[in-house]
Each structure stands twice: as structure tokens, then as C-alpha cells.
């Protein structure tokens, strides 16, 4: 591979200007989305205790979501401008509607559940929130993939799976912490299945990106976060699998999985900045594309 030429080594792309709120939103958004899905499924299966606790987890996180998003805007007073159009070409537009719809239905379902009012409306709102929650758990992967940042765009087929499985793992973990162990078995199963799927999705992403474009996941801040996330996933998963039926095991294992989910979002967030900063990630693959076309 020849050295990439550049203009004084300056970046070609602009780094995202998103503040840390957005990395945290990737975490809370996915968590609230998958937790409301778990709540809805638990409700329909008759596990009311798990349904209540998972719904409260979802409602808590979904109350934080818009605050994080609004705080990040350059002009926060114009948050409602997000809802003046609906554009499928903009995952952020689709996501704004998802956040609004998911927040409203989750809040309604949780309020009715706590007050013990209108059980049928509560269940309907809960199911709607659960379905919207599935979108919440993966659209953020589409959001970062729909940019020119090589480490994100080139992983467009894997990122939604990484975000979705991470959301499932953290939602399961949070519900396992919040629910008495006897009713929490499905939450633990979800946490473990999510953790396994996340490891697989990240592995597939790494393979797709290759050594050069995937480099940010192996060096610098993003590399450290990725490594930490992987370690925490393995430790938390093992702990939850072995000791999850007892309260301390569920709390400790679940907490490790939550931390892992947060670090993984941070790894992806930071990798985007690193990928934009060095022009070689942009130039080398584009040059290779030009050469491949020429030799065809």
C-alpha cells in the first residue's frame, strides 16, 4: 500500500461536532427502546412484574433521551424544527419522530401502569411503545452509517446490528437489575443473547472494515473503549449466566453489561472522529476503488 498523499496531512472530512450527550443518547435510546420491547412482550406473556419494571426502566431512559438530544443542538430552542418535515433520507429525521412517538407511548403506558388505570389502554400503549422501541434500538446505527465517515459508512450493514444487540443486552441487564430474580429470567436471557449477538456483530464489522479503515477500533481512545467494552461484556455475561438467579449476581453482572454497552457506544462515537481526522482513511480506499475500476 502506497502512502496516501494529502494537503499538509489535513483532514478531508469534518469531524462530527456532536457533544458527549450524543454518545450517551446512543446508550439511553437503545436501552429504552429494547426495554419497552421487553416490557410489551412480558405483558403479553402474563409476566406483569417484569413488564412493570422493564416499562419503568424504559420510561426513565426515554425521559432522558430528548433532553440529551436538545442539549446537543447548536440552537436548542429550535428542537421542534425536527418535526416540521419527515425525510426517509435522513435517519435523524426518522429518529426524531421515533423518539417523540416512543417517548409519548412509553410515558403513557408507564403512568397508567403505576396509577393502575385503564389496563387496556395501558397495554395498547405499551405494545406501541415496544414496537417503536425496536426502531429506537437500531436507527442510531443507520444514523451514523449515513455519513461520509469511512469507519461508519463502510460498516453500514453491521452497525445497526451492533447497536440493536447492544440495546438488547443493556435492556436485559437493566431489567434483570430492577426485577426480583424469580420474574427476571427472560431479562437475563435477553441480556445474554444480546451480549452474544453484539460480540458477533462487532466481529463482523471488524472483518468488513479491514485493517486500515478499522484501525480506530485498535488504537487511541476508541481502541481503549472497544477493548474495555469487550472485557466487560465477557465478565458481565459470565457473571449473569452463573450467578444471575441470586440478587447480588444479577446486580453485579447486569451493571458490568450496562457499563460495557456505554463503553461500546463511546468506542463507536470516538472511532468516527478518529476516522475523519486522518485523510488516509478517506484517500486510500477511494484510490483503491479508482484503481479497481481502471483495471476492470
Amino acid at each position: 500500500m502506497t502512502e496516501a498523499r494529502s494537503y499538509y496531512g489535513q483532514p478531508i472530512l469534518k469531524e462530527p461536532v456532536w457533544k458527549p450527550e450524543i454518545a450517551w443518547y446512543f446508550f439511553t435510546g437503545g436501552l429504552s427502546g429494547a426495554a419497552s420491547g421487553l416490557a410489551a412482550a412480558a405483558r403479553l406473556s402474563g409476566n406483569d412484574l417484569l413488564a412493570r419494571r422493564a416499562l419503568l426502566v424504559a420510561a426513565g431512559a426515554s425521559a432522558v433521551n430528548p433532553l440529551l438530544l436538545i442539549k446537543d443542538l447548536g440552537r436548542p430552542e429550535r428542537f421542534l424544527n425536527m418535526l416540521r418535515v419527515f425525510k426517509v433520507t435522513s435517519p435523524m429525521s426518522v429518529g426524531s419522530w421515533l423518539v417523540a412517538g416512543h417517548g409519548a407511548t412509553t410515558g403513557l403506558a408507564a403512568t397508567l401502569d403505576v396509577l393502575g388505570l385503564c389496563p387496556r389502554l395501558r397495554t395498547t400503549a405499551g405494545v406501541a411503545s415496544g414496537l417503536l422501541g425496536l426502531g429506537m434500538s437500531t436507527y442510531t446505527g443507520a444514523l451514523v452509517a449515513d455519513t461520509s465517515i469511512p469507519v461508519w459508512h463502510d460498516a453500514r450493514r453491521e452497525l445497526p446490528f451492533a447497536f440493536g444487540s447492544g440495546a438488547a443486552a443493556t435492556a436485559g441487564a437493566a431489567a434483570a437489575i430492577a426485577t426480583p430474580a424469580r420474574a427476571a429470567r427472560p431479562a437475563r436471557a435477553l441480556a445474554l443473547a444480546g451480549a452474544v449477538a453484539e460480540v458477533a456483530a462487532l466481529k463482523a464489522m471488524e472483518r468488513r472494515l479491514g485493517a486500515l479503515v478499522g484501525e480506530p477500533y485498535h488504537q487511541g481512545a476508541s481502541g481503549r473503549y472497544a477493548k474495555l467494552a469487550k472485557g466487560l461484556t465477557l465478565a458481565g455475561g459470565a457473571l449473569l449466566a452463573v450467578g444471575g438467579r441470586k440478587r447480588p449476581g444479577a446486580i453485579l453482572g447486569g451493571s458490568l453489561l450496562l457499563a460495557s454497552g456505554a463503553f461500546e457506544r463511546w468506542a463507536i462515537f470516538k472511532a468516527g472522529s478518529a476516522s475523519a481526522r486522518d485523510p488516509k482513511y478517506t484517500v486510500v480506499p477511494q484510490r483503491a476503488r479508482i484503481e479497481a475500476r481502471a483495471s476492470r
Partner: protein, 293 residues
């Protein structure tokens, strides 16, 4: 899914063809653009100054990059024309004997990623086929910034410039408008007007492309074999540029991507993966409930 059908609903703001317009009907104007012929650029920066003056673009730091005579560094919210300077020694390696100078600008893409991903509709396609941000609508979400394959756009952070009383530091995203206000009054953009060597040419895009091809051929025939056009091909990854260039070296030497592709070209794959992943999350939840009672 063919990618130029993705925005067929009119939400994407793509141009159907290089010279046609999607939704202006009788109000549509010929597609206007820039041809920047860097072979005659003398690096005077009159374009940078004229742009700042006309568009009231605020000061963005009186800095000195140390990279030749470049003191603006890159395109940004407050630099809409950026003159790049490359000093080289090509003959015997003794002293500088080649200068490359190039005035960079927003490309006003045929398939504009910034416009596609903008969640508020602040970024729109004008009747001239150019791409403009409406300051009154932009809420500063910043999505257009990493979406642009050229790194053209940035945000004016709110705390910058407050001491100068500049309302222009509004937290919103900004970039070249191709002097939309001047175009509406039948005038050429400020940078093109100020350029003393006609390195920046403004006009109907199809005419500019014809001129540029002739110019490039002439240069190559007269011995400047490195001359090449950048952005004149409607079959490239962004459907051709509304502002294209004649360069004397590879694009990356000027800080430009050699083979840019609009990110929304792969929108089908992106949403496909998101939908499949959402389905998988749902199936995992149902499985967990069913199997782990």
C-alpha cells in the same frame, strides 16, 4: 434499488438530471455553477475577501498556518472560499519551482448528502440547482457536517464572536450559498466577480463544462500533461459537481477526496440493515420470553 430513485418522493431534493430540476416547474432556471480553473489561480485570495464582505461572513481567527501562504486552512462555516497553496520542487529538487494554487468551494452536488440528511429541511435545492442552508430553519444538529464527502460544512459555535457582537455566530451550520441573493438579481457570485484572472468562472453549468473540457484539452496538448478535470462527470459518485475544477495534480494533493460518493447512495443497504436488526431484536425478545419462563 437504484439510488437515484430513492428520493423519488421529492424528499431528498436530488436533481433528476444534471440540468433539470425536480419541483420548480416554470420557475426553474438553468443550473448555474462554478468552474474553478486552478491553472490560472495566482493565490491573491480576492475570492475569500469578496465572499466575506458580500455574505457578512464573520472573522474566523487571524491565524497563520505556516503551510505556505494558506491562512484560512480549510473550508468552514466562516470560510466559504479557501485558497490552497502547494509549494514544490519538481525539476532538480533545488528550490521551489512549482506552485499549485486552488480556490476551493462548496461543490453544490447533484446528489447532495448534506441536503439528504438534513432533518429540518433547512438545506434545500434552489431554482438554480444550487444547495443552500436556510439560517432561520437550521437548528444546529450538525448532521450535515460528517455527511459531506468534502468536509465543506461546519457549525459556528455560539460562544465564538460574541465579544464582537456578531449575531452571525448563531450555533447553526453555514456554507457557500453560491450567492443565492445575487443570482436572484441576475448578478454573478462575489468571488467570481472579484477574481482577477478568471480562475473562477460562473455560468450555466453545461456551458462551463464545455469550456472546461476545451481548456483542459488545450493544456494537455500544450504540454501540461497533469491537467485534469475534477467533478465534471455526471456518472461520478455524486452525479457531478455544480462547482467543478481543473486541477494540476491528484485531488488529494489539494485536500479533496479522489472518488467521493454521496452517502445516501447506499440508503437501501442502511435502512435494510436497520430493519433487519430491529426484527432480530424483536425476535430475541420474543425468544427470551418464550423460552425462559
Amino acid at each position: 434499488m437504484s439510488w437515484d430513485q430513492v428520493p423519488g418522493h421529492g424528499l431528498g431534493g436530488h436533481l433528476k438530471t444534471a440540468d433539470g430540476h425536480l419541483s420548480y416547474g416554470a420557475e426553474a432556471q438553468p443550473r448555474m455553477g462554478f468552474f474553478t480553473d486552478t491553472s490560472v489561480c495566482i493565490g491573491c485570495k480576492a475570492c475569500e475577501v469578496a465572499c466575506k464582505e458580500w455574505n457578512l461572513v464573520p472573522e474566523d481567527g487571524f491565524t497563520w498556518t505556516g503551510n505556505s501562504f494558506d491562512n484560512t486552512g480549510e473550508l468552514s462555516a466562516s470560510t466559504w472560499r479557501h485558497v490552497a497553496f502547494i509549494e514544490r520542487s519538481v525539476r532538480d529538487g533545488d528550490g521551489i519551482d512549482q506552485w499549485l494554487m486552488s480556490s476551493d468551494v462548496c461543490k453544490h452536488c447533484t446528489h447532495a448528502a448534506c441536503l439528504d440528511v438534513c432533518p429540518t429541511g433547512a438545506i434545500f435545492r434552489t431554482e438554480f440547482g444550487t444547495v443552500v442552508i436556510q439560517d432561520e430553519v437550521c437548528n444546529g444538529c450538525g448532521y450535515c457536517i460528517p455527511a459531506c464527502p468534502f468536509g465543506v460544512i461546519s457549525r459556528r459555535e455560539r460562544d465564538q464572536g460574541v465579544e464582537h457582537g456578531l449575531a452571525a455566530h448563531d450555533g447553526g451550520a453555514h456554507k457557500c450559498t453560491l450567492c443565492y441573493d445575487r443570482l436572484q438579481d441576475g448578478m454573478e457570485p462575489a468571488c467570481a466577480k472579484a477574481c482577477p484572472t478568471d480562475s473562477i468562472q460562473f455560468g450555466p453549468l453545461d456551458e462551463l463544462v464545455a469550456t472546461a473540457r476545451e481548456r483542459c484539452e488545450h493544456l494537455v496538448e500544450s504540454g501540461v500533461e497533469s491537467a485534469r478535470l475534477y467533478g465534471d462527470d455526471p456518472d461520478d459518485g455524486i452525479g457531478g459537481f455544480g462547482a467543478f475544477f481543473l486541477l494540476l495534480d491528484d485531488p488529494e494533493v489539494y485536500g479533496l477526496p479522489p472518488d467521493p460518493v454521496v452517502t445516501t447512495r447506499n440508503l437501501g443497504q442502511i435502512w435494510g440493515a436497520a430493519a433487519a436488526a430491529a426484527g432480530l431484536v424483536g425476535a430475541t425478545i420474543v425468544g427470551a420470553i418464550a423460552l425462559a419462563r
